[in-house]
Amino acid sequence: MRAASIADVPGAQPRLAPWLFLSPFLLVFLVFTAYPLVQAMVLSLQQTFGPQHTRFVGLRNFQFLFSDPLFWTALRNTVVYSLGSLLIQLPLSLGLAMLLETPGLRGGRLYRVILFSPSLVGVSFAAMIFAVIFEKRTGLLNVALHRTIGWNLDFAWLERHVMPALIVASLWMWVGFNMTYFSAALKNVRRDLLEAAEIDGAGPWRRFLHVTIPEISPVAGFVVLLSMIGSFQLFELPYLLLNSTAGPGNRGMTIVLYLYQTGFENSDLGYASAIGWVLGLLLIVMTVFQRVLVRRSEAA
């Protein structure tokens, strides 16, 4: 009888059911995300030693943070890595996607699967592989480069050139992943625009610059943002490649690695939360900046 009475009123729906379906999400979210988020604010005003011993220090964590040379090292390394990945990886991803979308190409599916597959390998496992590949003298990378272009066998990837090593390893992990976004975007480039440009005598390069790039720019902006957000949270790759350290001279120190060391090796969860908030703020600034850029280009 209840079911019939609901159907009698057009558009009327059970009132409790949606909350029943949402409640598991809301419950777990409130307990394990929202509450810790509030706690992160409280913690960032405290100095702690382990989870039990806390002391209120006000804004001194943030004050200290800005004069903490290690934090600036971490920030600089993170920025270097992010820009390096952005400038090297994303153009390659786009290039691969354009090759995949070549009209008349067969076997694209297989290439796609192969190029995508490294992104399935967890960072712990990728770090295991690359730790050996990056070895001096005996590692695959130096030996292969030595045999082909006379590269220095003693090039110390993990001792001195940590950021280039991280960029190379993450290139392998993510270039195919980002390619799938570009590939989807290229499928939606209007064929008639490209053909009109060709009829007007535009060469491939000008067609790329003036038709393809504007057509895919919304997706490209999204990929750039995702890539920056991901890069700014870099932690596990250096941590594991460098045997649970930040590397010699802290050359592999990143913001989240510093957060981890502070919170879980030095047991100062308060200072770690302050670092977390600064990271969160940086990410918010980037996101807003990207939104503004997108809006401006849409208005233009």
Binding site: L26, V28, L99, M128, T180, E236, G276
Partner: protein, 296 residues
Amino acid sequence: MRPATLRNSGGVTPRVRVSRTRVATAHVLLLAASGLMLVPFIWLLCASLRPADAFFQDLFLPTRDGHVAFDLLTLASFERLFDMAGFGRSLLNSIFLSSTTAILGTLVAAMGGYALARFRFRGSKACTVLVLAAVTIPGPLLMAPGYQFLYRLGLLDSFWGVILPAIAPAFGVFLFRQAILSAVPQELLEAARLDGSGEVNTFFVVALPLVRPMVATFLMIMFLGTWNNFVGPQVVLQTPEKFPLSVAIAQLKSTYYQDYGLQMAGTLVSIVPVLILFMFLQREFVDGLAAGAVKE
């Protein structure tokens, strides 16, 4: 809406010749790129089958007097690996953690997405905004307070401490909301209600089967994310018997730092299950991600 015929209108005769060279060039470059991407996999396979005592003597297959010697290939590294009681245990831990998190997380996300997509209720807008905002919360920010909270709950060093915080994926709620909006017609649900089907029954029997591809994709995303997650179990778990592979493998590296064969065998065993799973689901998975998934 672009007419589909425009896509094929490029097949005019004079252009075919030009695009043939373009196709050939694309093949060459894509083959080279695919080859480079496969090198670490092939290297890993060879490294775990090479005799460990002469690990660095060869790059790929073992050689004797300058010739490839297949008879030198050995499973000894795998035998050492599984002789250690800990490793098989870690494999089981990974399977348990990943499947439990994937099933619970997918269920929670699908139910949440269903509520947001197919019910009009007070607060539904606020809930949608909450879900979208939750997607943007950076994980590292929750590390320290999350740890403290799990300590207070007494969930440190327990599997539930790893699983519970991971089963409310806001992004999944959003994905399921979109999938249900496009694949589950409101009229069908009303018809089911008219037939006297209860709400829970309607969800499981009518709505969920219509978004089966999303269920498969999201199970895979969650399984993979948990399998590959290092920092969660690293922070929460303390007893080595509870470590999943992602954490155990790093331990292997520090404990057996000279036994590269063992390390590479362990790495191979850790990545092969997800690669196989991916082979079965790759169509749904790649397309699902291209539809707008977030890099974990």
